[in-house]
């Protein structure tokens, strides 16, 4: 089956990111196709490239990037939710006249339409929220 995940919780503040990542791995292990993870609301914080958690805690940003690298899962971040929260890639930073950026590949800023598309295209969309 084709699965999609909607993640709306920030890492470290709530367990939503842990649950989503764990579910994603179980979906892939079961042989399903994970068509994408869409990050909305506070979930966009999962794309914060500067996150520096203590070494004895899981690094969730890196864990998502590893999932993308190993299984080709697109990591789509709602651009409107991200900009409000200070999460900009290089292109958006330039557009807004800001020095530096806080989001990088494999996370990609995209529109909310991609969430609707993911939800209607997949057989299952599972939401994890704070």
């Amino acid at each position: 089956m084709r699965y999609g995940i909607l993640l709306m919780g920030a890492p470290y503040s709530s367990q939503a990111s842990h649950s989503a990542l764990r579910f994603a791995k179980a979906v892939v292990a079961r042989g399903h196709a994970l068509e994408g993870v869409f990050f909305y609301h506070d979930g966009v914080q999962n794309a914060a490239r500067l996150a520096a958690p203590p070494q004895d805690e899981p690094h969730l940003v890196d864990a998502w990037a590893e999932l993308a690298a190993e299984h080709g899962v697109p990591l789509q971040v709602c651009i409107a939710a991200a900009l409000r929260r200070g999460l900009l890639d290089e292109r958006e930073a330039a557009r807004h006249g800001k020095q530096g950026h806080s989001v990088e590949a494999p996370f990609e800023l995209t529109g909310l339409g991609q969430l609707v598309d993911l939800g209607l295209r997949c057989d299952r969309l599972i939401t994890f929220a704070p």
């Binding site: 089956m1 367990q15 649950s19 764990r22 079961r30 299952r124 969309l125 599972i126 939401t127 994890f128």
Partner: protein, 96 residues
């Protein structure tokens, strides 16, 4: 048949009422994260109307020291079982 997923405790949040209100007669309810508190024998009464269709995630029960408090009417499932529950259902809805 839909799978509803609840991550809030009935002891702290009224959200469980919304999940119950939205459930059809065959729908199932999976408790995850802080929601697994609802599987405790002292709190499971909030879910009386879905007895036999109530599940709780083992990982989250264990992490919280709640396995021994889990009511016998609740079906305890692991992550692979979570995926199976989503396969068996037509869709899932999350309540948070």
């Amino acid at each position: 048949m839909l799978l509803h997923i609840l991550n809030r405790s009935p002891a702290t949040s009224e959200v469980y009422r919304q999940a119950l209100a939205a459930m059809g007669p065959e729908d199932r309810l999976l408790l995850i994260e802080d929601g697994v508190q609802g599987a405790m024998s002292t709190l499971v009464g909030h879910f009386a109307e879905v007895t036999g269709r109530l599940y709780a995630l083992r990982d989250d029960l264990e992490a919280r020291g709640l396995i021994a408090h889990c009511d016998t009417t609740v079906a305890v499932t692991d992550m692979a079982g979570f995926v199976t529950l989503t396969e068996d259902a037509d869709r899932t809805l999350s309540w948070f």
